[in-house]
Amino acid sequence: MSADQLVRPGKTGVLGRVAGLAGGRGGLDRRFLPVVGTLVVFTLMLVGGGSRYENFLSGRVVSNLFINNSHLIVLAVGLTFVIITGGIDLSVGAVVALSGILGASLLQSGWPATVVIPLIIVVGSVLGLVVGVMIHVFDVQPFIATLAAMFLARGLSYVISLSSITITDPTIVWLSSTRIPLGETWSLTPSVIIALLVVAVGFYVLHHTRFGRTVYAIGGAEQSATLMGLPVARTKVLVYVISGTCAGIGGFLFAVGSRSGYSLTGVGMELDAIAAVVIGGTILTGGSGFVLGSVFGVLILGLIQTIITFEGTLSSWWTRIVIGALLLAFVILQRVLVVRRH
């Protein structure tokens, strides 16, 4: 949903004044400010956790942070593209379920993993393409188009199977059980490697290709991008294909992690992914954000969970409340930055 479609009756009043107080032009590029906020929060959490709990800063904990969230990292990368253009994708959680359950059921009926794995990723891409076409050709708001895709993907996964399907395919089992030790306590899994590869590719595409720069240009000012002669239409469709593909990969990783496919997985996962992207410093109105920031966003979400686990007395629901509070802080920070720009 583009920013100018939404009313801003408040204008700049209160925040404008806050922004004025915050004034003073630092040497730092303003684009990095939200990400700096992300890093500060991340560091504070690490330091706080480390000083409070024993073994908090161990290789095992940090490794698990990546291992448990590899799928979310991939989703966040895809969403970063979409959100930088000023769009949104609500369908990623449902696509995770769809590609997981599809993969599990195909494997169960004897398809080889070498066919199934690419196939379930492509399913995500195709859904993304459908969304992109709805948005671009039919001028449907991203919110509604991806909402439809969410219902579609969720419904299709229910059609495939209502119950959880366990995966026994040797390839998946191998992917799921392999641990690659790094030094004494650190370890990696194939899923983490895949996720980090996606991050690297996402980073490369956003920062070192014309396509990536067009993504930023569209988020900055779509009309300007058109007047500059940039391929706006193609790019806008492609970001949804990318997000869909990432959701497909995310679904694959989630299936590997749980060694099963289930049509109810990923309910609300799109919210976690969006929260991670926003906490990672990407501005929801578009034009600014970084893939690496989103990775840190995911890690912060993971850390919240870890800390609550370490705390022991805190109940799990505090996770959601803290995420909400962080989201609020970052949204207000972003708003202040936007007000300052004008």
Binding site: M1, K11, G13, A148, F151, T285, I332
Partner: protein, 347 residues
């Protein structure tokens, strides 16, 4: 022709088609029978099941008319039930009417405050509605869990049960509540100037500002109302099952509500809204759900049908499709690539 062009025509056709299809499949579908002085039947079920959705969708209609959106209503539904049931459950006298009344009062007051909070973020801080309400959407269920302490709180208070499952004058109380609030909102928006000013703000915020419309307080009001209505829906849902499930109460109701609003012909771009359309939209969604059940398809597949409905509706509204369907009139210059400003002769 006049009839076909009415904006509720197609939604109504869809609803009637669904009902007819059901009647053909199950001839007794439309019959309403009286049992113990209470009305029963599929139609009554549809209306009763629609009640919470309708309440949420009513608020959503007004919010969308101001060019906004409220994603947090599902979370508010959960909080409302959690507050009411936790209060009743922990009170020394859970069966008493007074306990229930106080519980309802506290729950609704809190939900109203949550709506005010959303309205504050949107109208005072000027945060985009989708983001502003995402905050409460994310945190809300955590807050509900905090209130219920992670349990699914259950109660047995008969007075509370009335909200969701009681009957009055032969009709389910939930239908009466939803109907009453529908009438209230209709009166509030159409008998005062609120509806017109909401539409003005949604259609042309700048023109409205220059005409002296207090858009801030209007926008704030509709978010507050939406919070309150979601709270009532939450009471209804929790009373229906006599349990507060912080995780699942009102799950996806925000999406269904947005869907009902869109099906009812209110554009997500804001402006003109139709409460009647939203009513029909809510009925369509519930009829669809019931149809799926009756046809023996697993209810879990309902999202698939919803997807089809959403896609059909938004494509019907798409400018491209409309232009193709509209009769070819002499065309002005095509804005070749860039949408220009309104077709006023610019300097």
């Amino acid at each position: 022709m006049q009839l076909v062009r009415h904006r509720l025509f197609w939604p109504l056709v869809a609803l009637v088609a669904l009902l007819v299809a059901n009647t053909i499949n199950t001839p007794s579908f439309m019959s309403v029978r009286v049992q113990d002085g209470h009305l029963f039947g599929a139609l009554i079920d549809i209306m009763r099941n629609s009640a919470p959705l309708l309440l949420v969708a009513l608020g959503m209609t007004l919010v969308i008319a101001t060019r906004g959106i409220d994603l947090s209503v599902g979370a508010v539904v959960a909080i409302s039930g959690a507050v009411a049931l936790s209060f009743i459950g922990s009170s020394p006298n859970p069966e008493a009417l007074s306990t229930v009344l106080v519980a309802v009062g506290i729950a609704l007051a809190l939900c109203f405050v949550l709506g005010v909070w959303n309205g504050f973020l949107v109208s005072v801080l000027g945060i985009q509605p989708i983001i502003a309400t995402l905050v409460l959407m994310t945190a809300g269920r955590g807050i509900a869990m905090l209130i219920t302490e992670g349990q699914i709180t259950t109660i047995t208070s008969p007075a509370y049960r009335v909200i969701g499952s009681g009957f009055w004058l032969g009709l389910p109380v939930s239908i009466l509540i939803a109907g009453g609030i529908f009438a209230l909102v209709a009166v509030l928006t159409r008998r005062t100037a609120l509806g017109m000013l909401i539409e003005a703000v949604g259609i042309n915020p700048e023109a409205s500002r220059l005409a002296g419309v207090q858009s801030r307080s209007i926008v704030w009001t509709v978010y507050a109302m939406t919070g309150l209505f979601a709270g009532i829906a939450g009471l209804m849902i929790s009373s229906n099952v006599m349990a507060a499930d912080a995780n699942n109460a009102g799950l996806f109701i925000e999406l269904d509500a947005i869907l009902a609003v869109v099906i009812g012909g209110t554009s997500l771009a804001g402006g003109k809204f139709s409460l009647g359309g939203t009513l029909i939209g809510a009925f369509i969604i519930q009829t669809l759900t019931l149809t799926v059940t009756i046809l023996g398809i697993s209810p879990s597949v309902t999202p698939l049908f919803k997807a089809i409905v959403v896609i059909a509706v938004v494509l019907m509204q798409a400018p491209v499709v409309r232009r193709t369907m509209a009769s070819r009139r002499p065309q002005g210059p095509r804005p070749a690539a860039v949408e220009s400003k309104p077709v006023e002769v610019a300097a």
